[in-house]
């Protein structure tokens, strides 16, 4: 019987024991995880020249905003009304 069991576990040189399965799964898991980390690292380290352009483009938006500007001096009534609104709508919530 022990011979039969052994032959079942090691059929044609392939190890089907629980220990071997866990070992294989563990090794596979580590390999996949480390592969993913390295891939992520490589991808994020590729110099991206688009970043600066994107940032500059963001900043230039402000110039475009300024082109639509409108400067109207506030009247005394307008200022008083605004300050009154600030004071009356103030609410402190901790």
């Amino acid at each position: 019987m022990p011979e039969d069991k052994e032959s079942e576990v090691k059929r044609e040189g392939v190890d089907f024991s629980k220990r071997a399965f866990i070992k294989t799964a563990l090794i596979g898991g580590i390999a996949v995880a480390s592969g993913a980390v390295i891939a992520k690292k490589i991808v994020s380290n590729i110099p991206n020249t688009g970043l600066t352009n994107a940032s500059v483009s963001d900043e230039l938006q402000q110039d475009r905003v300024m082109k639509d500007k409108e400067f109207v001096v506030m009247s005394k009534e307008e200022k008083d009304r605004m300050v009154q609104m600030f004071v009356s709508e103030y609410k402190y919530t901790a």
């Binding site: 044609e12 040189g13 392939v14 190890d15 070992k23 294989t24 090794i27 580590i30 390999a31 995880a33 480390s34 592969g35 980390v37 390295i38 690292k41 991206n48 970043l51 600066t52 994107a54 940032s55 963001d58 900043e59 230039l60 938006q61 402000q62 110039d63 475009r64 905003v65 300024m66 082109k67 639509d68 500007k69 409108e70 400067f71 109207v72 001096v73 506030m74 200022k79 605004m82 300050v83 609104m85 600030f86 004071v87 709508e89 103030y90 609410k91 402190y92 919530t93 901790a94």
Partner: protein, 343 residues
């Protein structure tokens, strides 16, 4: 056949399958070690703890959770920058509503405010450079009465159409593209005036309305703040802001350890990460302690004024009472608390 493949090595039998397994295990271990050594030192996010990653929105945290979050940040930033970094969590002061006033006539365009702000608020120094204040150079020009009868159509030769006036062809008050990168030898320049723009801390902020995760909100003292940990980087707030006052971290911020300001606030100038939005907070790490913002303090001509809008004796209220004041894009009904004035 498998028996034939086995080889004896110092009394151990190794099949080809076993050899591949062991070789695979060794190479996986080497790869894992290499990967961990690569990520360890450089990125701030590599030091982020799980607790920080899963923490709640700052507004919804209990006092205990806030203390824990602050302690985690203090420890991480102190390790990262090699100095004692403090993260303040001071809430808004009672009976205070901050307002700002800027004398457009006095501004000489020296941009000391910009650099003081960068230094105080730990902004990225390069690749990509982030500045919360933009000083825009604008053309001065003059509108004259003499030119009123000039311009298309050239009367009396052309008798049709409406006279537009010669002043219509002057570019006075126009900001040209890229004018905040001006590098003159001396300021102020003869034909220019300067227009600093930053977050207006609107009383009805459109950026707050559009935030899908409510990471940006208005504190009781009127300052619009951002919980950087909760920001998902969708840039909706940037699109909503009519003043283009918000900045996005396209890359990892570059903040040299020796230039890092260690006195920080959780909602203000603590170091940010890639993929989050940031903006002016009226230096709340200072103003909530009774100090002036860095830009007010550094302005060499005293063009910048700051104070409590609820206090009738404050500088900003006196300016509102006595000076000619205008707001940027007042027609948007955002009720900015940043006022421009002239003497």
């Amino acid at each position: 056949m498998p028996a034939e493949e086995k080889k004896e090595v110092k009394g151990t039998t190794i099949s080809r399958r076993q050899f591949f397994k062991q070789a695979g295990a060794v190479s996986a271990a080497v790869a894992a070690a290499a990967a961990s050594s690569v990520i360890a030192p450089e990125e701030a996010e590599a030091r982020t703890t799980f607790a920080e990653f899963f923490q709640n929105n700052y507004r919804l945290m209990t006092d205990e959770e806030k203390k824990e979050a602050i302690a985690r940040l203090e420890q991480r930033h102190s390790e990262e920058y090699g100095k004692k970094v403090t993260v303040d969590g001071s809430p808004a002061m009672k009976d205070v509503l901050f307002g700002y006033a800027l004398n457009i006539q006095k501004c000489i365009g020296c941009r000391r405010c910009v650099y003081a702000c960068v230094k105080e608020n730990n902004q990225s120094r390069h690749d990509t450079e982030i500045q919360w204040i933009r000083v825009i150079r604008m053309e001065k020009g003059n509108f004259t009465v003499d030119d009123m009868d000039k311009g298309y159509p050239n009367s009396p030769n052309e008798s049709f159409g409406i006279q537009v006036g010669g002043n219509a062809y002057k570019n006075a008050g126009v900001a040209l593209e890229g004018q905040h990168y001006y590098q003159p030898e001396r300021v102020p320049e003869k034909d220019a005036f300067y227009f600093p723009v930053q977050c207006m801390q609107c009383e009805k902020p459109p950026c707050v309305k559009v935030c899908p995760v409510r990471t940006t909100y208005r504190d009781p003292d009127g300052i619009v703040v951002i919980d950087y940990n909760w920001c998902i980087g969708c840039r909706m707030c940037m699109g909503a802001c009519p003043y283009w006052a918000r900045r996005f971290n396209w890359g990892d911020p570059n903040l040299p350890a020796e230039e890092m300001n260690p006195k920080t606030h959780y909602l203000g100038n603590r170091p940010r990460m890639r993929g989050v939005v940031e903006k002016c907070t009226f230096c709340l790490q200072r103003t909530r302690k009774g100090r002036y913002p860095a830009c007010v303090e550094v302005c060499p001509v005293g063009a910048r004024k700051f104070g409590n809008l609820l206090d009738p004796e404050s500088e900003v209220r006196k300016i509102l009472d006595r000076k000619k004041v205008f707001r940027l894009k007042a027609d948007m009904n955002t009720y900015p608390k940043f006022f421009y004035f002239i003497d």
